[in-house]
Symmetry: C2
Subunit: 233 residues, 2 copies
DNA sequence: TGTACATCAGTGAACGCGCGTTCACTGATGTAC
DNA sequence: TGTACATCAGTGAACGCGCGTTCACTGATGTAC
């Protein structure tokens, strides 16, 4: 019973001797690596148990030892991808400084560092935040991954619920960012702007991914201007 | 040879006696209705030949008489959905008046009417355009349909190409709309704003669909403000 | 130090199912002469 | 008016395939006594 939840750890038994960092944990991570790679290179429809097992170089039955059902595998991939993104976003959205205190509802632990390499996390300006978010979208792999998540969410209510939860938290953090810098704005305006900011950023991702459109360099400047205006007019 | 192209008309033979409006054409439309309905209610993964046939009340073999392959069926559904949307958008994006002349590259025929019921198509203001587009997103059916198209596009390069073509044309029309009202703006700025406008509108659709987030009423006003600013500052 | 036993890690075969596709077939409707 | 024939519209069975899942099994590794 050393596992974290239903979708964690080997399926047929508890964690046992191979605790965190042990062989089991390593294997699990390696299987998820293969699944994620497949998601990026081949797309969500190719994310079958057999394909993942083959990509990871193990037998079907062995993959099922760690992820007893297809749903468990998908849930685990999702959890890892969204969790990683949340960790990357957290330092960018941190409140201005020690004076402000915790902005409430911030996820994850305020761990040592190495989250992404962005300079001076606390107290980023709107300009820096927008630039950092857009820079993330230069990572075609990540954009593709999120596009696949949307596609998975369209077919799978459990995935949709996770994605919604992610964006709800994301929006709350953007709202906190804005409220921290513009205490004069009414709460409704703050929430509205945060939501529209997300619409813009994710809409941009949609078009930049090549899924719904081609890359349009002339748009970047305008995008930056619009996003900045939403956060700090 | 009365058909329009590869994916049109019965698959095993030419149009023959049953021309446009004949029995064949009616059947085809009826099969596409069933497919579209299935796409909205059950999602893209359920869009199998068997499911569509069952939904339409015909046998599998008969569906294949009209759409010989699954790809042909999907292409036909896509063509109809995107075509209908393009027809709906055209009057909203029309140039201001007879003085302006054709804005170049406008799709479809400038047919009699009944395209959507929007009041006074030619010469709409930015405010009206934005309101009309957002009003369209109130149609949950349509939003769901587009979300499914994105999902299909993520798995199918042929679908992705069609979706890209649709948005390229869409963007060109928004750019023409803006250039018509703001002749002083440089072309690059016009293109950039048109692209960002689309990012915002489609991003909004993503969140309003329930796919990536929950509906946030407070955001609507801010959304309207931001979109309006992009088209007519 | 040795033995028995439980758990972990991994294998391999088989299942039933839904899928897209192929194909031979049938009746109805038009068309030529 | 009648007949022969081509096409249209629709049926029904079968195919091979990949899928998720089930399950019995096998070594390896730890652990208790």
């Amino acid at each position: 019973m050393s596992g974290k939840g239903d979708t964690t750890g080997p399926g047929r038994a508890g964690g046992g001797a191979a605790g965190r960092g042990g062989k089991g944990e390593q294997r699990r991570a390696q299987l998820l690596d293969a699944a994620e790679e497949l998601l990026v290179t081949a797309g969500g429809t190719e994310l079958s148990m057999r394909a993942v097992a083959a990509a990871a170089g193990v037998r079907l039955g062995h993959l099922q030892y760690y992820f007893p059902t297809h749903a468990a595998l998908v849930a685990a991939v999702l959890e890892r991808v969204l969790g990683r993104s949340a960790e990357r976003l957290a330092p960018l959205l941190a409140p201005t400084g020690p004076a402000g205190g915790p902005a409430g509802g911030a996820p994850g632990e305020d761990g040592a560092g190495d989250a992404g390499g962005a300079a001076d996390p606390a107290g980023a300006t709107a300009e820096e935040l927008v630039r950092a978010l857009l820079a993330e979208q230069e990572d075609a792999r990540l954009v593709r991954l999120f596009a696949e998540l949307w596609a998975l969410a369209a077919r799978d209510e459990a995935v949709a619920a996770s994605v919604r939860a992610f964006y709800t938290e994301y929006r709350a953090q953007v709202a906190a960012f804005l409220a921290d810098r513009r205490p004069d704005l009414p709460e409704a305006v703050v929430q509205g702007r945060a939501q529209v900011f997300l619409m813009l950023i994710e809409g941009a991702s949609l078009f930049r991914s090549g899924l719904a459109g081609v890359r349009e360099p002339a748009a970047d400047e305008e995008l930056l201007r619009t996003a900045r205006a939403l956060l700090a007019p």
